[in-house]
Amino acid sequence: MELSTLAQQLVNGIQSGAIYALIAVGYTMVYGILRMINFAHGEVYMVGALVAWLGTSRDWYGVVSHASTGGLVLLIATAMLVCMTLGVLIERLAYRPLRHAPRLIVLITAIGMSFLLQNLALILFGADPKTVPLTWRTVQLGGISVSLGQLVLLIASLSFMAGLQLLVKRTQFGRAMRAVSEDFQAAALMGVPYDRVIVGTFAIGAALAGAGGAMTAIFVGAPVTPTFGFMPGVKAFVSAVLGGIGNIPGAVLGGLLLGVIEALVGGNPTLSPFRDAVAFCLLIAVLLFRPAGLLGRAVQEKV
């Protein structure tokens, strides 16, 4: 492979990996706190993309032109808000009644939630692909071509993740979050309002996934369908496991790594049909050989 091709593939991989990372962060935070896999997370990402499409598909009384920078920022913010509400609702309606139920029951509920949202979107919006009507100029950097949209997407997602890291490490809410994830009961005894922390975690995770969805629809131009979130959701989960579930920098690393590996596999003529299987093979390999992930620490199971 030529050097410029390799560099281009790396850029492609990092761009799709950034999206995986944005979703994976939500998985990892919820897992860190509740020890549950929020299967419906991928669908939240899909809802974000749907909001972006809805925003650009009609005029909305000419509030702001969606082609302007302000309009786009507003659109992404709306998507984040909608997804945040959705995330909180999912937690309140489906997961909170099961807070003390066995983990498998919560898992089954989460799978049900994922399918519920998918089919709700199917019924409300139909299965035909929906595209945001915007295109982006291409920038040439040596042998590498990057669209302006991709560049924005990359910078935005990296800054989102940096912001999240700051939030977790520097604020009081972040400290509460870490406390709950360290020891649920001890944190409650120390006066941490854990219900609020859980709601907050869901809200942040959902907002990030929503931003990811909206940006994929706007900057990549991917057609939105009800199953739009399923594969990215599963792959983001794989990224979270790859990086060590419960670990935010790990999720980012895992996402970027998965994106790059997929790009390299997808670019190979003989391997390209198997691109979707890569994530699963990686998952099983990690679970078998390094279940704590790349950056996670091994936890001894309590008996």
Binding site: G126, P273, L283, P291
Partner: protein, 371 residues
């Protein structure tokens, strides 16, 4: 031994007689509503899903190993048995003299079904062993991954028609009722007998508390793998029958939706309850087909077949069951003549003997909940 074999014989004869009767009714158009379509939709497909649900119940319900990869086992059985029939068996059949065709076809179909079951069981072993180190949600994701990998593999194997679907499979199953019913009965019988044997307790102990079971000397590893192997075997046999009845199979027939639907059935019926799985499996599939018969409705300015709502309904059923009745319809209990009789003839005094003055309408409700 002789006794069991006699029972087997009785089951086979009854199924065979029913098969003939149904065939006469369907092809002779005895009833207006009993067509090939309704027969397939309300009898065959539910039977298939009963087999799938009961076999998954063995893994999910009885042994407590949450598997989301049942469609994968189903696919392995369907594809490999179909491959055997297309590439080997039909060639052999062509050399058989016409008088023996029927017998040969029967033998080859049995062989194909066994190959499907065996391949799926082997696959179950392959999946079972490495995933033993995983528990709960990790296991669920890993099995989901295995299921998807199987599908991606068959999507790309030209030998099996890839995404075009594997067509031209000899339709040796023919009418099918006999085969489908026997497989379902076999699956139920094996599950029930396992559960009643000492092995059954071992399976249950793995579900209830793996660590405690291990401490008590139950080889948990062995039982976990055994559950996977047996469950996969029946799913594989079901796949083999599907392939040889429909004549063509497609990778999308085995997508994740199937796994989710079967999980819904097991969960709704009550994890661990065989009769629960049977009821939920047959019931949900029939309900789904009933939805298809309803007229088209217009919502949000678009037209819908009521069956478009079926996945939505499955999802809702799953969530609501988990929140309001996590033990499912039947819980761990079984529906049997004994329980039915007890339930019907039970006198209020036997359960508990409330003082005469305390018997009231609300008091009855309390007693109904007693096991």
């Amino acid at each position: 031994m002789v006794r069991q074999a006699l029972w087997c014989g009785v089951a086979i004869i009854i199924c065979w007689a029913l098969d003939r009767l149904l065939q006469a009714a369907v092809y002779g158009q005895w009833f207006g509503w009993l067509t090939d379509y309704t027969y397939r939709a309300f009898i065959l497909v539910p039977l298939l899903f009963v087999t799938l649900a009961v076999s998954l119940n063995l893994i999910n319900g009885i042994t407590g190993q949450f598997s989301l990869g049942h469609a994968g086992f189903f696919a392995v059985g369907a594809y490999l048995s179909a491959g055997f029939s297309v590439y080997f068996a039909s060639g052999w059949l062509a050399q058989v003299p016409p008088a023996w065709q029927g017998m040969a076809q029967f033998g080859l179909l049995l062989m194909a079904a066994l190959i499907g079951a065996g391949a799926a069981a082997l696959f179950g072993l392959i999946v079972g062993i490495p995933t033993l180190r995983l528990r709960g949600d990790y296991l669920a994701i890993a099995t989901l991954g295995f299921g998807e990998i199987v599908r991606v593999l068959f999507e790309n194997l030209d030998l099996f028609g890839a995404q075009r679907g594997f067509t031209g499979i000899p339709t040796w199953v023919g009418f099918g009722f006999c085969w489908y019913a026997l497989l379902a009965i076999g699956c139920i019988a094996v599950s029930r007998n396992l559960l009643k044997s000492t092995h059954g307790l071992a399976f249950l102990s793995v579900r209830e508390d793996e660590t405690a079971a291990e401490v008590m000397g139950v080889p948990t590893t062995y039982y976990k793998v055994a559950a996977f192997v047996i469950g996969a075997m029946f799913a594989g046999a079901a796949g083999a029958l599907l392939a040889h009845r429909e004549g063509s199979i497609y990778p999308v027939d085995f997508k994740m939706d199937i796994s989710i639907i079967v999980v819904t059935m097991v969960v709704l019926g009550g994890q661990g309850s065989i009769t629960g799985s049977v009821l939920a499996g047959a019931g949900l599939k029939m309900l789904e087909e009933l939805l298809r018969l309803l007229p088209v409705v217009t919502l949000f300015g678009r037209e819908f077949q009521p069956s478009d709502f079926r996945m939505l309904a499955f999802a809702l059923v799953l969530i609501l069951t988990m929140i309001f009745r996590p033990q499912g319809l039947l819980g761990h209990r079984e529906l049997s003549w004994a329980t039915l009789r007890r339930w019907l003839w039970r006198s209020p005094k036997r359960v508990s003997a409330p003082p005469a003055e305390a018997i009231s309408i609300s008091g009855e409700g309390e007693q109904m909940r007693q096991p």
